[in-house]
């Protein structure tokens, strides 16, 4: 029996176009890309392949000069067709034209019983070499974990409460055995426990007989599924402590590296949102180009594609690539239009957490909205108080924390709990903020200040 934690604060954003639980069959994308910018905390990315070289799935193509042990590997086999650079020659995408039949680098394959006996060093070496290591994220800071650390505890969130999120139970339904292997491997890296956060609203098939973890179930609105919120409510991160987090998909990847002896980056992704004709799932590989998924599938041409959740994700082009950590793509209308008296007119088509706009929202609580990317207002100083606190189910005062970051007040950032949050945990603050601050960017600025200065 797992312990239940009830969270009251938060807000579920209901968006139109949740993906239907079926895997569509479309032509596999031809090009895949690894995007160094997906990995928060890479400081000096160094590409180890040249255009025209051929790679296998699992061949190292990138590393960080500041953290040389961690290798980032190709998701598919094929030819490196382009290394796209942006401003200041920053590497943005390493594109690979995929083979029809994927070739894999070979690593040691273990049986389940061998895994139990393997030492941390053995496992770590293979994790680092295969490219599965970057799935392990460290708190504080939300960056790729350092191989030299030992985590106090490891946390896994078994569900995603973000709007339009992929259903983890569905996308990993055939991978139970790898999931368990992943947990077995990862538990060697902590002196504490491995915690698994489950959805209190819906029983999970996937995690029902997982062993070696301490289970907690969480009830409540988004962000109940955020691992940061779960950590805070189970065993918070204090100063000078390091805990690790990993997604269920990351565990499956790790499981495959050890059970199969290959870096198999296949993943099921949801392509959802109000602007796609049929919102559904696609089976592909990490870093897939989304062009084929959107072909003849758009209701509207003027759209924004977001890799990841619309609350936290990154904008990608219509022929862009899905991020390393993302299991979903959201396609929402672009909102670059003026609206006459847009702030004043009564409406039922806009979503608001605030009763000043959504006074009658209780009439139809399950209504799904088609929200666009308009900011809906202008940036102002903080005026309304107490609202950001109502969407963060943690004992953290977001307004004060953000002000401390803006003032570059290191002492107060620490004292107010910056080590316990990363962008996704305050994403709802950015959504509800009346003064339209870029909350997530501000928070990252603070995290960077603490890490690098």
């Amino acid at each position: 029996m797992s312990k239940t934690i009830k969270l009251k604060r938060g807000f579920d954003i209901r968006l139109k176009g949740v993906a239907e639980q079926k895997v569509a069959s479309v032509a596999q994308p031809e090009v895949f890309a690894l995007k160094p910018l997906d990995f928060v905390g890479i400081q000096r990315p160094k590409v180890t392949v040249k255009e025209g070289e051929t790679v296998k799935a699992g061949t190292p193509i990138l590393f960080d000069k500041k953290n040389e042990q961690v290798l980032y590997t190709a998701p598919v086999s094929g030819e490196v067709v382009e290394i796209k650079r942006g401003l200041k020659r920053r590497v943005e995408e390493i594109k690979i034209l995929a083979d029809k039949e994927i070739q894999y680098e070979t690593f040691n394959a273990y049986s389940s019983s061998e895994l139990g006996k393997a030492s941390r060093e053995q496992l770590q070496e293979q994790l680092l070499k295969s490219g599965a290591w970057p799935h392990i994220i460290q708190r504080p800071y939300g960056v790729v974990a350092k191989p030299s650390d030992t985590a106090r505890d490891i946390f896994i969130s078994g569900f995603d409460s973000n709007p339009l999120a992929a259903d983890i139970d569905f996308i990993l339904k055939d991978d139970k055995k790898y999931l368990q292997a992943g947990i077995d491997v990862i538990s060697k890296f902590t002196s504490g426990k491995v915690y698994l956060g489950l959805n209190g609203k819906k029983a999970s098939q996937l995690f029902s007989d997982v062993s070696g973890v301490e289970k907690y179930s969480f009830q409540g609105p988004h962000p109940a599924g955020n691992v940061g919120v779960q950590i805070h409510n189970v065993k918070p991160v204090n100063k000078d402590e390091v805990v690790w987090t990993i997604s269920p998909y990351g565990l499956v990847q790790i499981g495959k590296v050890f059970l199969e002896g290959k870096y198999d980056a296949s993943k099921v992704v949801a392509v959802a949102g109000s602007e796609v004709k049929t919102a559904q799932y696609y089976k592909t590989y990490s870093g897939a180009c989304i062009k084929n998924f959107l072909k003849d599938n758009l209701l509207e041409e003027h759209v924004r594609c977001v890799s990841g959740s619309p609350l936290t994700g990154s904008r990608i082009e219509k022929d862009g690539f899905i991020g390393f950590y993302d299991n979903s793509v959201a396609v929402i209308p672009e909102g670059d239009e003026y609206e006459l008296f847009g702030w004043a007119l009564p409406t039922t088509n806009k979503l608001s957490f605030h009763k000043a706009l959504g006074l009658l929202s209780f009439v139809n609580p399950h209504k799904e909205f088609r929200l666009n990317t308009n900011i809906r207002g202008e940036e102002r100083a903080f005026v309304q108080s107490g609202v950001l606190e109502r969407v963060v189910p943690m004992d953290v005062l977001p307004t004060y924390l953000l002000k401390a970051v803006m003032a570059q007040d290191f002492e107060n950032m620490e004292a107010l709990g910056i080590y316990e949050v990363i962008e996704e945990d305050l994403a709802l603050c950015e959504f509800v903020d009346v003064s339209k601050h870029k909350v997530q960017a501000i928070l990252r600025e603070g995290l960077d200040l603490l890490q690098y200065s």
């Binding site: 008296f341 702030w343 102002r380 005026v383 108080s385």
Partner: protein, 395 residues
């Protein structure tokens, strides 16, 4: 409405960087964003969707909440006038007379304040804040109807300039701007804002024996041994039961603050929409009532013996609590802090009223005082949060 958008798009380049009217960008922006919600979109990383609320909507809600007070105030100005002069008048005549004298004050307050805002936005190069929309309506409602218009303008300019802009504009000010205006007049031109100024007589002469004293003044001047309630009941403006008339607001006083009922209607709207903190409103009323009860228990003079519920309906207590104590910028920002802040406002108001003979109206000073102390309250609440984190780490 397309021509309007096209017109704006046509002149916009002149106001943007490099245009010949570059200086006036922010006033232009204020007008543009008033007409059209802007076309800004969310950044490439972060929250791609946003809540439909903005500051304009929030501030407008407060103005809507004040409309009952404004309308009632207009009528009451006329009603008090005809009551004092003994002339018979219809409801329409009463309302019209009030409107004629109240609207100029509203217009002057808005014009003076927005003037300062526009000048500041040009000089300081910051956007015009919506905060003044509320302040501009609050100021007339806490003035006596007989106030000279130049004083309204002067007080508004002082308040916006010294009370707000020097601190950096809306969101940065320490004192409630409207109350700063009133406090300014109170100390700069005391004769025009205290005493027998609450009723408009015009050319007519008041009836024999009429006094324009407010219930607060009556309560304070009640001789020992007599009952305050009786004294108010005998006042010329009370027609029915004293408590009901006070609650309804049929009495002389500042334009918008006489009616507790209208304030409560406003409070209901603020609480339902979540714009005003119910914690502050509730705790402030509770604080005033509790302090009233405490004074009842002491009963050292007639004012102290006045039943505690009368403290809630006389003077501007309800108006101050509902519309000024809840100002999110100057109130406490933490949730626990709001309870403390509200309760202290209620308690202090009653203490100032009853114990300090120099200030018949306590709510103004109580709120200003607590505005100053709100950051201190918050400091301790935030410190408690930090300490919890620290304790957790050291265990």
């Amino acid at each position: 409405m397309k021509f309007l958008r096209e017109g704006l798009d046509k002149v916009k380049p002149h106001f943007e960087k490099g245009g010949k009217l570059e200086k006036y960008y922010y006033p232009f922006e204020a007008i543009e964003t008033f007409l059209f919600a802007p076309n800004h979109t969310t950044p490439n990383k972060g929250a791609h969707i946003r809540d439909a609320i903005d500051l304009k909507r929030l501030m407008t809600t407060v103005i809507v909440a004040m409309i009952p007070c404004l309308l009632f105030g207009m009528w009451n100005v006329g009603y008090q006038h005809f009551l004092a002069t003994g002339e018979a008048a219809t409801f329409g005549e009463q309302f019209l007379l009030g409107a004629i004298h109240v609207l100029p004050i509203v217009v002057v307050a808005y014009a003076a304040g927005l003037g300062v805002e526009f000048v500041f936005s040009i000089v300081r190069k910051h956007p015009i804040n919506e905060g003044f929309l509320v302040t501009g309506m609050l100021i007339p409602l806490i003035m006596p109807v007989t106030i000279p218009l130049w004083q309204v303008a002067l007080a508004t300019i002082f308040a916006v300039l010294i009370g707000k802009e020097v601190f950096g504009g809306t969101g940065m000010n320490i004192l409630n701007v409207a109350l700063t205006a009133r406090a300014f007049l109170y100390f700069a031109y005391p004769t025009d804002i205290s005493g027998e100024v609450w009723t408009y007589f015009g050319n007519a002469t008041p009836l024999e024996g009429y006094t324009g004293a407010t219930p607060l003044a009556i309560a304070q001047s009640t001789p020992a041994g007599e009952s305050v309630v009786d004294a108010i009941q005998n006042a010329s403006f009370i027609k029915g039961s004293a408590f009901v008339d006070l609650f309804m607001g049929y009495l002389p006083g500042s334009i918008g603050e006489t009616s507790t009922l209208m304030c409560l209607i406003g409070a209901a709207l603020l609480i339902l929409t979540g714009v005003g903190s119910w914690k502050i409103i509730l705790s402030a009323f509770a604080g005033a009532y509790g302090m009233g009860l405490l004074f009842n228990a002491l009963s050292l003079n007639p004012y102290m013996a006045m039943p505690a519920e009368y403290q809630l309906v006389i003077g501007g207590l309800a108006f101050g609590i509902v519309f000024m104590a809840t100002d999110p910028v100057t109130a406490a920002h933490t949730e626990l802090g709001k309870w403390i802040y509200g309760a202290l406002i209620g308690i202090l108001t009653v203490i100032i009223r009853v114990v300090n003979p120099a200030y018949p109206e306590g709510i103004m000073l109580a709120i200003l005082l607590m505005n100053v102390f709100a950051p201190l309250i918050d400091h301790y609440v935030v410190q408690a949060n930090k300490n919890r984190r620290l304790r957790r780490a050291t265990v």
